[in-house]
């Protein structure tokens, strides 16, 4: 469960549980140390998740038939969900069709990456460093900027974003920098931090609960404390289940907010 970092060997027989820390999210580089292509544990987890997605969905797509099998039906249900309940629900079919592949990619990838956090052996969400959510958020940022410029032209788009109609002009002194900040920084940052912080918090909660369970049941010398350990294990179990829910929920939130941001780049209709 917990990364064997630093004092791991020392705590084995010690009177302190081996608690997770932020070092879990900054594991040592394993390959190509010191180069810009260095790889650490989380990047390996990402690669594993990527390969699983490619294989699973690739095989599903290759074997896709007109009359779906159970598994294909489940995948199609997910695709329908992203298309109808996220994209078309927010921006309508006419606008939305163009963005279905992007939002599907984001939703399925983020969900699978999030789920790595509760898969034994991986035990950390692939989205649990700031970079992966940031890359997704930057994709969304570029997409909604491009969409705004394409749909209205640069001038009109900037005017709509930075000088919202119906505001007395002195307010613009205050409003325009805020709008600019929101457009370029706050939107992607909120996407990034929401996802990344959720994954960090989830990992810490589950890992702490299970670390205490491990400590009280197996390592502690006082066997009465095993009861407390059982309680910690139950909590860890519940939090693991909760993490599954959070994994799907955060993927949904990320996908739907991306859709909303893209939709805001279209001219407002009164």
């Amino acid at each position: 469960m917990v990364e064997a970092v630093g004092s791991g060997a020392l705590t084995l027989a010690a009177s302190k549980p081996e608690l997770p820390g932020i070092d879990d999210f900054m594991p040592p580089e394993i390959l190509f140390q010191g180069t810009p292509f260095a790889m650490n544990r989380i990047i390996f987890v990402r690669f594993i998740a990527m390969v699983v997605i490619l294989l699973l969905l690739g095989v599903t797509a290759a074997r896709a038939k007109l009359i779906p099998s159970r598994w294909q039906g489940a995948v199609e249900w997910l695709l329908d969900f992203v298309r109808d309940s996220i994209v078309y629900e927010v921006m309508g079919e006419l606008r939305g069709r163009r963005y279905v592949p992007m939002i599907t990619t984001i939703f399925l990838t983020v969900m699978c990456f999030n789920l790595c956090g509760i898969i034994p052996g991986l035990n950390i969400a692939a989205t649990a460093t700031i970079t992966m959510p940031l890359v997704f958020a930057l994709w969304t940022l570029i997409q909604y900027l491009v969409t705004g410029v394409r749909a209205q032209g640069l001038g009109k788009y900037l005017k709509q974003e930075l000088f919202p109609a119906g505001v007395p002009w002195p307010i613009y002194i205050l409003l325009t920098p805020i709008q600019l900040l929101e457009m370029l920084i706050i939107k992607p940052a909120s996407l990034t931090i929401r996802l990344f912080a959720n994954m960090i918090a989830g990992h810490l909660l589950v890992a702490i609960s299970l670390a205490f369970a491990q400590f009280y049941i197996i390592e502690a010398s006082n066997k009465l404390l095993a009861l407390a350990g059982v309680g910690w294990f139950a909590l860890g179990f519940a939090l693991t289940a909760f993490e599954i829910f959070v994994a799907a929920l955060q993927a949904y939130v990320f996908a739907i907010l991306s859709t909303v941001y893209i939709n805001q780049s279209y001219p407002e209709v009164d």
Binding site: E29, I53, A61, L66, T105, T129, T131, M132
Partner: protein, 180 residues
Amino acid sequence: MEPIAANGGVSLFIPKTYDIFWSLVILIILALFFYKYFMPKFQAIFDERAAKIQGGIEKAKKAQEAADQAKKTYEDQLNQARVEASKIRDDARAEASHIVADARTRAEGEAQQITANAERSIQSQRQQALVSLKGEVGTLATALAGKILGSQLQDSAVQSSMIDSILDEAGKTGSDATKA
């Protein structure tokens, strides 16, 4: 790792170069997979399925139309047959009554003819009978009168005048009888 990592959580918010690099690589691979293969493939499946369902509905509609057409034809034919049957029945009935009437007229005519023939034959037989009776009665009366009168009536002149007068009377009563 950067030295700041040792101090606290701020380092969590600072992306590392290699992390950005690999994240981009992974994102690009996945996006390519979804854009170039996965989504088009499933879109094709969805489209094909929609077309098939659409085609099926149209086929069913066509079959329904054909069935309606067939039903209409059948009903038309049935109605026509019914009309024809009733016409045939009416015709037959008319013909039958015609035949009956015909037969009756013919029978009546025949009966009249038979009656007339019978009357005629009766008439002629009576005539014959009268004629033969007249002759026989004359002979009989003469013989009878001869026997009664015997020799008194040897004279032929008296004889013939007597016979004539008797015959006249007989003829008168005979014609009275036929009149009656």
